[in-house]
Amino acid sequence: MGPFPRSKNMEKFGQRKDAVDIVFQRTMLVFPLLVLLIVGGIFVQLLLSSWISIKEFGPAFLVTSTWDPVAEKFGALPFIFGTIVSSLVALLLAVPIGLGTAIYLAEYAPQWPRRIISSLVDLLAAIPSVIYGLWGIFVLVPVMRSHVQPFLGKYLGFLPFFQGPAYGIGMFSASVILAIMIIPFIISISREVILAVPHVYKEAAYAMGATRWEAICTIILSYGKAGILGGIILAMGRAIGETMAVTMAIGNNVKISASLFSPAYTLASVIANEFAEATSKLYLASLTHIGLVLFLVSIVVNILAWLLLWRINERQKIFQGR
């Protein structure tokens, strides 16, 4: 119910009195229904458009690694692999840095840099994806090619992930850009979670003789772990769906390779690259099929995050209720 004060009598009284109210309410109902309709519509349209691909390839679509538009053989495995690996590497880079920055901002930074850094982080979040891609191609990739990748190859080259020629463009560069893009997201959610931890609990930890770092590790992380995890999952959702910057930096090569240096492809970037040029019906349907996979994955990820964040809200109610 809305925040209007109401009693049963008043409601009846109000409804009988003003017919316009009922009409207005019914009309307004159209809008939330439209929201539901759009999301439902997206699902139905994706399903219909990819139907011939679903019928042709079935569930094997997800585990087939051939992607051959000429022979009309389509399988999404290389893209699923590329999406999972690039998102995971991005999270691996972004989570410690983002969490560290959030803790710094919430617990250590003095008042004035705190405000400045926070608004700068918001700025980072506002930069459009295509600009990250541009920066990736012309600034990051050359540095990767000439410095970072040779360095990693030299010292960590015994691992299969860091072997092979340093193209610059490839999975690793794409992951780094993705990491930079999701960092502001992780920072803002974790910072909120950390600031929501009631001050008395931090004080209690200090009063026990905990150092600052111990208080942060034990109290904040134990109170905030669900929220931070929710934020990380949301950030992962972003990384999975991110299109332009990845398309520009990942090299767009349909190949599954253990090396992070080699070019790869993701679900979103194959759609971005090939959709407008796809000619045959099955080709288009297969690309839409990939879109459907992306849609379903993003929904699952969001439901997970939503459940986690919802749980925190419930728990906070318990704390505040005392």
């Binding site: 207005f24 809008f31 250590y108 930069i127 459009p128 150092t211 769906g241 971005a272």
Partner: protein, 323 residues
């Protein structure tokens, strides 16, 4: 407790007769000794960890800032050196010819945003108001959940959706489909911010309206919405800034155009699309244009964001005056 000593003194002596009917095997003295020994053993290490943590955490923050400044620096340097009058006034030159501009793309972006606002604002606003003022708990929760999920759907999926409902039936890429894709993307954010700000309107204010016999719909129209207008506009602005830079949903809806668009049902150029196609092209001069375009795009985004923070400030002042 005889002979209390300094905090940093390792030898404590304790009063022994403090066992007061406690049957535990360990005496208080033994516990104190045990804790103290351990404390002294680990204190140096704990202090080092504590001090190192500060450096580690500030390093994270510096790293993030470094990335930001690096991006901004390159945008400014490369962008300004490539910006000129032609960029704003001329059409793109054919492949290989230097010079030219992106006048059509700048106009195209504005047109796409207008279409997006026309689609996204009414639906988002209406849904937000309904959720706050009328919806029953379950229904409101369902819609809220849907908008949250919608917020997380990859932008390219909206592009496919717009393509299936507008490009396929009309058999042509079009400005309309691109604008609608962007408009749909604006809905979740507008809905949530509108609901949030409308809900914040103080109950006494509504009661004042109802008390003089105003019907509820007029209270909403005349009191609730106007007094949360600043916040609502902020939500619209923020979502607009977000879709202004979107490229993926335009790839196969607006499609891009090297010339002026002929109608809303024809392909249209857009700044982000132009940046994308220039950036991945092999021509030096187009790379230059891509940086200039990126600078203009980010300025547009920042200006919209700045406006939004102006409105949110106004809204804050409004509510603080009510309390």
């Amino acid at each position: 407790m005889n002979g209390r000593k300094s905090f940093k003194d390792d030898e404590f002596s304790f009063d022994m007769n403090t066992m007061t009917g406690i049957s535990s095997a360990w005496s208080e003295t033994k516990i104190k000794e045990r804790v103290l020994t351990q404390f002294n053993q680990t204190r140096a290490r704990r202090n080092i960890i504590n001090a190192t943590a500060v450096y580690g955490l500030s390093f994270c923050a510096i790293l993030v800032l470094f990335c930001l400044f690096n991006i901004i620096f390159h945008l400014l340097v490369q962008g300004f050196s490539s910006l000129n009058r032609d960029f704003f006034l001329q059409l793109p030159k054919p492949v290989g010819e230097p010079g030219g501009g992106t006048a059509n793309a700048i106009v195209g972006t504005l047109i796409l945003l207008i279409v997006a606002v026309l689609v996204g604002v009414p639906i988002g606003l209406g849904a937000g108001i309904y959720l706050s003022e009328y919806a029953h708990q379950r229904f409101a929760q369902a819609v809220r959940f849907t908008t949250d999920v919608m917020n997380g759907i990859p932008s390219i999926v909206f592009g496919i959706f717009a393509w299936t409902i507008l490009v396929v039936p009309f058999k042509s890429f079009s400005a309309l489909s691109g604008g609608i894709a962007l408009g749909i993307m604006m809905i979740p954010m507008i809905t949530r911010t509108t609901e949030g700000f409308v809900r914040m309107v103080p109950v006494p204010l509504r009661e004042a309206g109802l008390a003089i016999g105003t019907p509820k719909w007029r209270v909403i129209k005349d009191i609730v919405v106007p007094s949360s207008l600043g916040g609502i506009v902020t939500g619209i602005m923020v979502s607009l800034a977000r879709v202004a830079g979107e490229t993926a949903p335009l790839l196969f809806t607006a499609f891009g155009n090297h010339f002026w668009h002929s109608s809303l049902l024809a392909p249209i150029a857009a700044l982000p699309l132009q940046i994308f196609s220039y950036a991945i092209s092999p021509f030096e001069d187009w790379h230059r244009q891509a940086w200039a375009g990126a600078l203009v795009l980010i300025l547009i985004v920042f200006v919209i964001n700045l406006c939004s923070s102006y409105f949110v400030g106004r809204q804050r002042r409004m509510f603080s005056s009510h309390k």
